[in-house]
Symmetry: C2
Subunit: 241 residues, 2 copies
DNA sequence: CGTTAATTTGAGACCATTCAATTTCGGTGG
DNA sequence: CCACCGAAATTGAATGGTCTCAAATTAACG
């Protein structure tokens, strides 16, 4: 874990999607990176900031959020290791939202210019990057639907389906059991509900033997049932596997 | 209007953002396009479809939407002339949502392969395309916030602010007066409300002398006031002008 | 083992929904 | 030009899902 390249998981993930040549691979692994760690709830990116680098999550979870003028918060996405938390900041000049660590995080920060030079020089990498941002975009669209048109049970169920599937696909869980460090308040901020109602909704899902959730562990007891309740269709994740 | 190139508005819009050389410009204008028209409420793209082309809106309005299993609809974005309604379909294999015309539309359809070849050959154009998709993405994020955390007055006000600003920026309105063909049901589907409550909310905004809205015409009477109510900050549109 | 964060519970209030009926608007044909 | 029609907008009243506010319980952590 220690001295292997921080960007190895990224290359592995991209490699599943696009055919990467050895040259491509080495170009990515040769990127200048700064290792950083963030303690729980730290700000990794702030809205309004000029963009100077992009951040690959190596260990831990992160989330994007926006604050309203009245202090309310809406979480916009969650991120797991091997994902960029702010790839759009390689292209856009100003960050339009905040990124926070969910727990202790290790990241690799890549200077914006180096990343863009890489994209210009390597078509396959550029494509992988573009696809990353486009899948992000698709997830945001699904979240608009989730908070816009689903009731509380469906919202929570849908979010759990998404996270469970993404965790499983990256090997971060087995048999429907996952390390799941989200608080109920964070689940609430991601689904547009209050923490209190999120609590009652989780109880309702537990009562129906769809999930177990406690001590930072999520157990999906009934995947089909949970998908049903959450109106979940994984098409939007574009996981061509 | 008739025989000038359909893609002229697209080139003009991109030119404001990135420096395009004459070669760039001509390359775009030389794209093979199919002109199509759609009558009101026609489907331009369907979820699940294999992607074969991308569509530039030349005249009329369009919107993206997803349907839930119970038939409910969530509108995800609106589009005005000179914008692609589905640029991500140049890269992703499968459409993950529907696109519908709002009124009579004229569009230019560009084959996916031609568009991607262009992107590979012309760095400036590729960047313009990437930025387009990234701004889309930023708008989706803001919509997550809008439907997730704002009350009905703020949701409607915010949506009106966004559309008014985008229309004004493309020269499709002056002095806060816009051609605005959205029905209240469509406003409702975009904000996650019911048509009935949207109606009452609009009345409330009218009562406060913030807007007039009737006969397909929107008049913004108090821009600052409307921004205030909608908690609107245009940063997310990334309009570097 | 104390202290704070996170979860859970209860009761009442409220914003938005539902359902149904009515009115207005826009377009069409006689 | 008026009568007609369906779509869109408007209104009312009752219902309900979610919120608010507070307090109590449990879990996490140094």
């Amino acid at each position: 874990m220690s001295d292997t390249n921080q960007l190895e998981p990224l290359v592995r993930r991209w490699g599943k999607r696009c055919a990467l040549s050895d040259t491509d691979r080495e170009a990515v692994l040769g990127l200048p990176v700064t290792r950083k760690s963030f303690s729980k709830d730290a700000y990794m990116v702030r809205e309004g900031q000029r963009t100077t680098e992009c951040t690959v999550l190596v260990r831990g979870f992160a989330y994007r959020q926006k604050l309203l003028s009245d202090g309310d918060r809406q979480i916009i996405s969650f991120h797991i290791p091997s994902e960029f938390v702010d790839l759009q900041n390689g292209v856009l000049e100003t960050a339009d939202h905040n990124v926070q660590s969910l727990n202790h995080c290790e990241v690799a920060a890549v200077p914006r210019s180096a990343l863009m030079d890489l994209a210009d020089a390597y078509p396959a990498i550029r494509l992988a990057m573009w696809i990353d941002t486009l899948i992000d975009s698709s997830v945001f669209r699904e979240w608009v639907v989730n908070v816009g048109r689903r009731d509380s049970r469906a919202r929570i169920a849908h979010l759990l389906c998404e996270l469970a599937l993404r965790l499983e696909r990256t090997g971060a869980g087995r048999d429907g059991i996952f390390n799941f460090p989200l608080t109920q308040e964070q689940l609430a901020d991601a689904t547009g509900l209050t923490a209190v109602h999120t609590n009652r909704t989780l109880q309702s899902l537990r009562r129906d033997n769809l999930i177990q959730l406690s001590n930072g562990t999520l157990r999906v007891l009934d995947w089909k049932g949970l998908c049903e309740v959450g109106d979940f269709d994984e098409l939007y994740l574009h996981q061509q596997i």
